[in-house]
């Protein structure tokens, strides 16, 4: 439905009693489905907010980044929206939080690899 829309048309489509707001970035469409009484222009801003954060995180994000790192994209999304509501309007804060969590993951990995090395050595 959205793919068939021309370039100059407005970014809102009505669907099954809801509205779908979409924004196109190169070959990707970001869509959000909202209620009738939500502010569509605000949603456009939210989409842009999200994309900018992704950009900052991946460094010039492209489609492949999102495909191979979908779980990370989801983590970022979870820092921006919960239950559809905006959580944080500051890009810096979001970036900081994600960075902190990533470092936790790194730490845990390092620990695990050393431990498993030790076990592997021990059980050989």
């Amino acid at each position: 439905m959205i793919l068939s829309r021309g370039p100059k048309l407005c970014n809102f489509v009505e669907w099954r009693g809801y509205k779908v707001v979409y924004k196109r970035y190169a070959s990707l469409y970001f869509c959000m489905c909202i209620d009738q009484d939500d502010n569509e222009l605000e949603v456009l801003e939210i989409i842009h907010h999200f994309v900018e954060i992704l950009d900052r995180y991946f460094g010039s994000v492209c489609e492949l980044d999102l495909i191979f790192n979908f779980h990370k994209a989801y983590y970022i999304l979870d820092e921006i929206l919960i239950a559809g509501e905006l959580q944080e309007s500051s890009k810096k804060t979001v970036a900081r939080l994600i960075a902190a969590q990533d470092s936790l993951v790194e730490q845990a990995k390092e620990q695990a690899s050393t431990i498993s090395n030790m076990i592997a050595q021990a059980t050989k």
Partner: protein, 876 residues
């Protein structure tokens, strides 16, 4: 290397899937991976669990079923490490939703995680809870979340706030607990917490009036101040979006102020200044600014009256409307719909622009604009607006046409200043978009036409003209055919010419031509062609010169493979050929259909309660009746002069109808008519005045097994609005039986003879036939008599197609079972028996009496015998 490794890494799997060229290949890869994952799950593999879950999520996103992985999420969430929990919670949110029972098992883990020392893990838990928790989980965990609203870390506070939103939405009773903590959040400095706190308050206000009151009293001023601060704040790089500091915060504040100000004058007053400031100072060259303005306008429109602000708001909307950005125009149209309720004058000023938007290339804008135009229509502008819309109808997209047509018809109907204008507009719409016009609409049109008696001539001539050019539009054809049938002589005679009309010569055969073209056209559907047949019948009466030609056409349809057309053709043919004396009365002009009842009925949209057993032969309903019951009722209610009795709905109606003298029908057509004309049989029988019991039974019973298929389909047709279409009801039994009166439901067998016995009766005897009745009654049920009729052939020739029919007066109810056979061997070498049930409502006061008619074929010649049985035993 772990021997249980599932082989591929996540990115390898993704690469493999993307490399597939066909869907089958992809399915194969996915299947292999799923098998490996399943094996790993059953082995309870620890090490690669999170990788497997990641793979599962990817597969889920592609659309394959992944329910076997749900327990894995739980195990991951329960494990102590952060990465595992992270991916476990993500899996939970993606693969499950609140309807799954598995979700309940997670409650305990979440509870523990909510009190974890690692604040990121608390965050994960809150996030998951906020996204998918169910009502039970909400109830369980609400106290935890409430506590977290005051946690030291702002990130947790903001997540807790959003989580609370979901909780109070799922369990509104808990709202009171959150009021105070939420109010505390409004004093925060951290933007994230402020944002979420405001959202929480907004939702609380929507859910609980207590919360609304509280916030209104305590927080309005504080909120106004916050908005002032953020609107006036200097450049803050962290929150800046295209020159505006934190537009999201602006918008959320405006939303909350809207909720607080609505319906309360004091609150509204306190906001006026800041609203004015925001409305005037915000830059509108970027989307962020426009979003704020949009929200601001929405708030102004909703809170209590302030003239100056409203003017400001409408001006902003006007500016939006003429913007070149489609998005802006779209939201402006949206907002104008709300503005109309408040200040329709202001909106009317923009009518021209809105009308232009209806023709926009963007489908969403078109839709909004059309709805807005619909709201804008009033008596003064209806004519110009309709003209514009109809002009556009011609060039609009097919998807849009349906909507547009419906709106035009609705506007025309509601606001038409005079009938001729209404008819004119409809005459313009029908050729352009007739196929999109709904049934109620053209029914209403016909109602209006019948009521505008001075316009009949004009209408029928205009329709005739339109039909020449646009004969493919179904609805147009229907209306035109109906009108030509009704007002044919006006068409030909140029009666009732109006000043603006050009004279047109239409001969009778032209009119008939038009209808014949329509009926031959196969693209038109059954109802239309049936209506054409009806119209032809009417014309055969109105144009005697064409009667023969019309009859020929009708005869052609007697062999039609379509049952409806065939039945109609057969009956109409018999009317034309054999019943000239009643034909003109039958097809007399329809009286004006009562608009009030019609529109009332339509509003209630309840199919007419009149029983379907209407004296149809008196007033063959036209094709309109096929589609809704409503006009059918009208036809009867205002039935032509044949019925002088006051109309009443329900089964009594028929009685009334029949009780009154049936002038056209009572002329006994004589005994020589062929068995074919079921109508005649019906007329006869009805003339005795039998009450018909239930409507549904008339529907299924009347398809008697006449092989000449002349079952009185009129009653069938009447059965169709309420019962199953009669075309489908199978012929009852192999014998041809008129089970007219299904008073008791099928009586399968005669009950035992343990009532008083009665002598058998020689009911009827002629030179060729003898009929004997044997009686039995059930003890205790004195009103009902079971009769076994026996027929004996006295002649040397066998009879075939043997049909026995009977009719009884009003106070009796008759039920006929199928006969044992319909061939009567000669010279008494066998007999036919048939069981009857008779119920005497005047048992004791009046005795049974019955008229019988027996038809059979002897040597390929049809014979009919009739008689009356008066000699029933007295006490029967």
């Amino acid at each position: 290397m772990n021997p249980f490794s599932s082989g591929t890494r996540l990115r390898d799997m993704i690469r493999a899937i993307r490399a597939c060229k066909t869907a089958a290949e992809e399915r194969a890869v996915v299947r292999k991976e799923c098998a490996a994952i399943r094996a790993a799950i059953s082995e309870n593999d620890q090490d690669y669990r999170h990788r497997n879950l990641a793979k599962l999520m990817f597969i889920h996103m592609l659309g394959y079923p992944t329910h076997f992985g749900q327990m894995e999420c739980l195990k991951l969430i329960a494990s102590p490490g952060f990465p595992e929990k992270r991916i476990g919670y993500l899996g939970l949110m993606l693969l499950l939703d609140e309807r799954q029972e598995v979700l309940m098992l997670v409650t305990n883990s979440i509870k523990q995680d909510l009190s974890h020392t690692n604040q990121y893990i608390v965050g994960l838990a809150l996030c998951a809870l906020g996204n998918i928790c169910s009502a039970e989980m909400a109830r369980d965990l609400a106290p935890e979340v409430e506590r977290l609203l005051q946690f030291r870390d702002p990130n947790i506070r903001k997540k807790a706030a959003l989580c609370s939103i979901r909780i109070v939405k799922k369990v509104p009773d808990l709202a009171e607990n959150f009021i105070n903590p939420a109010a505390a959040l409004l004093k925060e400095k951290h933007h994230g917490v402020l944002l979420t706190g405001i959202q929480l308050c907004t939702d609380l206000c929507n859910i609980s009036t207590e919360a609304l009151e509280y916030f209104r009293k305590k927080c309005t001023d504080g909120l106004v101040k916050v908005l002032k601060d953020v609107a006036n704040s200097p450049y803050a790089p962290e929150y800046d979006v295209s020159g505006i500091t934190d537009p999201f915060l602006h918008i959320k504040l405006l939303k909350l102020l809207r909720v607080l100000g609505q319906g309360d004058a004091d609150a509204s007053d306190s906001m006026n200044d800041i609203l004015a400031q925001v409305a005037t100072k915000t830059e509108s060259n970027k989307n962020a600014g426009n979003a704020i303005l949009y929200e601001c306008v929405s708030t102004i429109m909703t809170i209590e009256e302030n003239g100056g602000l409203r003017v400001l708001a409408v001006n902003i909307l006007g500016r939006f409307l003429s913007s070149r950005d489609n998005n802006i125009r779209y939201v402006a149209l949206n907002m104008l719909m709300k503005a109309i309720a408040l200040d329709s004058q202001a909106v009317q000023r923009h009518r021209a622009t809105i009308l232009e938007c209806v023709k926009d290339s963007d489908a969403s804008i078109r839709k909004r604009a059309l709805e807005l135009v619909y709201l804008l229509v009033n008596e003064s502008n209806v004519k110009s607006l309709t003209k514009e819309l109809i002009d556009y109808l011609e060039i609009s997209d097919p998807e849009f046409k349906g909507d547009l047509t419906a709106k035009i018809c609705s506007i025309v109907e509601k606001f038409s200043p005079e009938k001729i204008w209404y008819i004119d507009q409809m005459l313009k719409v029908l050729p352009k978009a007739g196929n999109y016009v709904k049934d109620e609409v053209w029914h209403a049109l016909i109602v209006v036409i019948t009521n505008a008696s001075d316009l009949h001539g004009y209408t029928v001539r205009s329709l005739y003209r339109e039909l020449q050019t646009a004969g493919e539009q179904e609805t147009l054809v229907r209306v035109a055919v109906w009108c030509i049938g009704e007002y044919g002589e006006m068409l030909v005679g140029n009666a009732g010419m109006l000043n603006q009309e050009d004279p047109i010569t239409v001969t009778e055969s032209d009119a008939v031509d038009v209808i014949e073209t329509a009926i031959k056209r196969h693209s038109l559907d059954l109802a239309t062609r049936a209506m054409c047949l009806m119209a032809l019948l009417k014309l055969s009466s109105r144009f005697p010169s064409c009667s023969q030609r019309i009859n020929d056409t009708i005869i052609h349809y007697k062999e039609s493979l379509v049952l409806e057309l065939q039945q109609r053709a057969i009956e109409f043919n018999s009317i034309i050929e054999k019943h000239q004396n009643i034909r003109s009365a039958l097809v007399e002009r329809m009286p004006a259909l009562d608009e009030a009842t019609y529109s009332g009925r339509r509003a209630g949209s309840v199919p007419a309660a009149v029983s379907t057993s209407q004296g149809a032969p008196l007033n063959l309903p036209n094709g309109v009746a096929k589609l809704t019951a409503a006009p059918l009722v009208d036809l009867l209610d205002l039935s032509s002069d044949e019925v002088s009795a006051p109309s009443s709905s329900g089964g009594d109606f028929l009685q009334d109808l029949l009780g009154v003298d049936l002038s056209p029908a009572s002329s006994q057509p004589g005994g020589n008519h062929a068995q074919k004309s079921g109508t005649d049989v019906l007329l006869d029988l009805l003339s005795i005045g039998t009450p018909l019991a239930q409507s549904t039974s008339t529907a299924d019973m009347l398809s008697s097994g006449h092989e000449n298929k002349s079952s009185p389909h009129i009653l069938d047709k009447l059965g169709s609005p309420s019962g199953p279409p009669s075309q489908d009801s199978p012929p009852v039994g192999s014998s041809s039986m008129m089970d007219l009166l299904d008073g008791f439901g099928p009586v399968s067998s005669v009950p035992e003879n343990n009532g008083p016995t009665y002598p058998s009766l020689l009911a009827f005897e002629s030179s060729s036939l003898r009929v004997t009745f044997n009686f039995s009654k059930q003890p205790g049920n004195l009103q009902t008599t079971y009769v076994e009729a026996q027929f004996v052939n006295k002649s040397p020739n066998a009879y075939s197609n043997f049909v026995f029919q009977a009719a009884v007066p009003k106070f009796l109810q008759l039920h006929l079972d199928p006969a044992s056979s319909n061939t009567l061997p000669a010279s008494g070498n066998g007999s036919i028996t048939q069981k009857l049930g008779l119920k005497n409502s005047q048992h004791g006061k009046k005795s049974l009496v019955m008229r019988i008619r027996i038809g059979y074929k002897i040597n390929d010649k049809d014979v009919l015998e009739e008689g009356q049985v008066n000699n029933f035993p007295r006490d029967l």
